[in-house]
């Protein structure tokens, strides 16, 4: 539950270049570009794509519109009503969906080769002619309202909400992705249709593909899938936001035996030259799973938590460093104190050369682990495109990580890890 707000963009790392993992650039006859890693060992094809503009675009009073609209994208299209559409997907084991991120709409299609043409046909229909039938809209509205109500019982969700409001203030990133019980009731099928027809356009489209297809076959498939979309979309106009420079602690009392702690401070953008140094620093602090300082100090030595971790999040308009964990109410204050102590220790004294070397070894050695299935590979390629990294990035990555110096890591630690700037949220019944 805590992990939900922590998803650090886990460092993509480099691997020994292998011909089989060199992406190809494929441009369709209609001009749509995709990056492809071809692999025919399993008769499966995975596509990932995204459009600019996500749930941060929810209009005031209609928070949750984008998420709601995404739930309707596989609920009927063209001449096919919801049940007919869903049955065609299910019977052929076709996984298709559009999901909302804060800055993007992200699409995926995974098919067995035997169902490839049907999958493309259904996905194209959904992208260009989604129905938003009243019956489906009301059914998904009911599901959304249930889901919002269910989240109200989850301390991790409550903590995430309070933190987002505290660090983003009036920025569009502050509102709940699913909206509120009140706002979801005001959203109409027409609102959702209007949003999708504006955002689903070829000018911001990025596509990545992996699996059982060659470049020659992929070209026309891309045109079938995306060729029917409009050429352009309106510009996304969202301001950048800095996290608060004055830390504070917020307590949300809940009658539970454990306190959930989440916290955040300003981070660095993926495009920032300090990104690699920050990413290595974060690995040592709390990104390195069992091998981080936070886990060692708070879990291994003291037994105060099941898990504590930190992560870097970089979005289009904000960047944060977050740390979180959970401990019994009686030790909640101690947990926060230890967290801040580790921040301060690393800011003041930095990391050791040995810690840096281990972080580099992990980050340079683990890339193959994110390439073990076609959907993982497609997701990785799409991430590279969204981050504006070149198609040859996977070959250069090792050298970029290894070039980071101890001084650079310690400089970024000093810059980011100021406990006085940390916003902390505690959900539970913390006692002194």
């Amino acid at each position: 539950m805590i992990r939900a707000i922590l998803f650090a963009l886990v460092a993509l790392v480099s691997l020994q270049a292998r011909a089989a993992t060199d992406p190809q650039r494929v441009v369709s006859p209609g001009g749509i570009e995709a990056w492809l890693i071809e692999d025919h060992k399993v008769p499966v094809l995975s596509l990932r794509w995204s459009f600019l503009g996500g749930w941060a675009l929810d209009p005031a009073g209609k928070e949750g519109l984008v998420e709601f609209a995404c739930t309707l994208m596989d609920e009927g299209a063209g001449d096919l009503d919801s049940q007919t559409f869903q049955k065609k997907l299910a019977d052929a084991n076709i996984a298709f969906g559009i999901s909302p991120e804060r800055d993007r709409l992200s699409g995926s299609l995974k098919v067995l080769t035997q169902s490839r043409d049907l999958g493309v046909e259904l996905a194209a229909l959904a992208l260009t002619k989604p129905r938003f039938d009243e019956d489906a809209v009301e059914r998904m509205r009911a599901a959304t309202l249930s889901n919002i109500q269910a989240e109200l019982a989850k301390p991790g969700w409550i903590a995430g909400r309070a933190l987002a409001e505290a660090i983003y203030g009036n920025h569009p990133y502050a509102h709940p992705q699913r909206g509120t019980l009140a706002s979801v009731k005001t959203i109409t099928g027409a609102d959702m249709k209007a949003f999708m027809s504006q955002r689903l356009a070829r000018d911001t489209l990025m596509v990545a593909v992996a699996g059982d297809i060659d470049a020659k076959t992929l070209g026309p498939l891309l045109d079938k899938l995306f060729g029917g979309l409009p050429a352009t979309s309106p510009k996304v106009d969202i301001a950048d936001v800095q996290l608060p420079t004055q830390g504070k602690t917020i307590v949300v009392e809940r009658p539970i035996p454990q306190t959930i702690v989440v916290s955040a401070t300003q981070g660095v953008r993926r495009s920032d030259p300090q990104w690699y140094a920050a990413s290595l620093m974060n690995y040592v602090l709390g990104g390195g799973s069992f091998n981080s300082r936070l886990m060692e100090e708070i879990r291994d030595k003291r037994g105060l938590t099941y898990g504590v971790s930190s992560g870097l999040a970089s979005y289009e308009h904000a960047a944060s460093l977050q740390a979180s964990g959970a401990t019994k109410n009686q030790t909640a204050q101690q947990f926060v104190d230890l967290l801040k102590e580790e921040f301060k220790k690393m800011a003041d004294r930095g990391v050791t050369q040995k810690e840096l070397d281990e972080a580099k070894a992990y980050q340079t050695g683990s890339l193959p682990l994110s390439m073990t299935s076609t959907d993982k590979i497609a997701a990785l390629l799409l991430q590279l495109r969204q981050d504006n990294l070149g198609i040859d990035y996977l070959k250069k990555r090792n050298a970029m990580i290894n070039a980071v110096t101890l001084a650079e890591v310690n400089a970024v630690a000093k810059k980011l890890l100021d406990p006085a700037k940390l916003t902390v949220v505690m959900v539970g019944k913390p006692t002194q």
Binding site: N93, S146, Q149, T249, S289, E296, G303, K340, T374
Partner: protein
Amino acid sequence: MKRRFGALLAGVSLFAATAASAKVFEPTSFTLKNGLRVVVVENHLAPVVTQMVWYKCGAADEAPGKSGIAHFLEHLMFKGTKTVPPGELSKIVGRNGGTDNAFTAWDYTAYYQTIAADRLEMVMKLESDRMSNLVLTDPVVLPERDVIVEERRQRIDTNPQAQLAEAVNAELFANHHYGIPIIGWRQEMMQLTRQDAVDWYKKWYRPANAVLVIAGDVTPAAVRTLAEKYYGNIPAGQPQLRNNRPQEPELPGERRVVLRDAQVRQPSLVREIQAPSYASDGKEHAYALQVLADLLGGGSTSRLYRSLVVEQKLATAVSADYTPESLDRFAFALSAQPAQGVAIDKLEAALDAELAKLVKEGATAEEISDSKKRLVDSAILARDGVTGGAYAFGLALTTGQTVEDVEAWPDRIAKVEKPMVDAATILVLTKNANVTGWLLPPEGLTAVSDSTPVAPSQSEGPAGAIR
């Protein structure tokens, strides 16, 4: 359960989607002289390998009063050996670009690393070392006991849905240890000692009681050489029998758990029904039950979704889950979430009516053939990844199945016919012991507002000033 963040693996029916398939994994298997079973699944999608060691012991093998010891030992397996200091195994794996973790269920405990294929020898050396050389001292054991108690707080004690599941499960199994939570009862967990852990380790952690699965960019010949080198010299130990577990009596009556929780705003309903497994009495129903679960609650075109969500609009979500991979009879589970304003008893009545209709009329031939096709095809998808095969064989070989059973899964699903589905339907939906659970908001709470869902009770600065 996972040593760290991750889904509770116990009794979750995640196997159908990632199951084996007809001669698809095409594994190589052999047994070392000391009894260690080895399965190799070649998969060359990426230069990566997964090593898993599965032990044939789990929470259902614990002695009365010692609940949680199987899971506790799982945590303690990371605390070092005669030659590897505490915590060092994960560090070594990490600085070689790998990840590692472990999980415990009622019937098994498993450990794994995923890492670049050229590091396989290194992780085999480490994993084989802790099969016989674990060193436990109070300074590492006692803080870890606090960690598992925190884990319980995080997974169960702050999660009303999980508390309901625990209570329903305890009702469903009045005598079998499947009724005791994998993580343990808190008061018993807090009393577990270093000696308990050592005893458990000595009894169960032996080659003759373990399965080694290596999946990924490897060859069977290379694995055999390494397995013999690192695991081959470990003394066999005694294979432990697990056919003497307390079994369930026939208990008449309808059982029910109602949990009202101050945190809850969205009610939900679960029904857990005892059902045969691949290895228990009634195993002949295991394949038909998978087809039944799919046509009843698998996705938006299933019977329950169409009736309760689409047509009657009483629910916003439904599911049917069945877990065939267990040593003894386990469960067929249904769940539903009422739409706003729908009373939970009304939803339950509609669910019962739908189940009664299915019992009376049986599933249609078309429903059955569509489900079978979906399930059989899904086996191809299981090959798209490195860990799927390793998981399938480890699970099978620790829950009474064979390598051949895994490979034959699509064929056996394909052979399910309507009379088998009808028989399975009658078995689980009319005769079996079952428990219904309701999760409800506090009494008297009628309207829910989230206009200020997280209004902090206190908000103060500057940093550090809490209360």
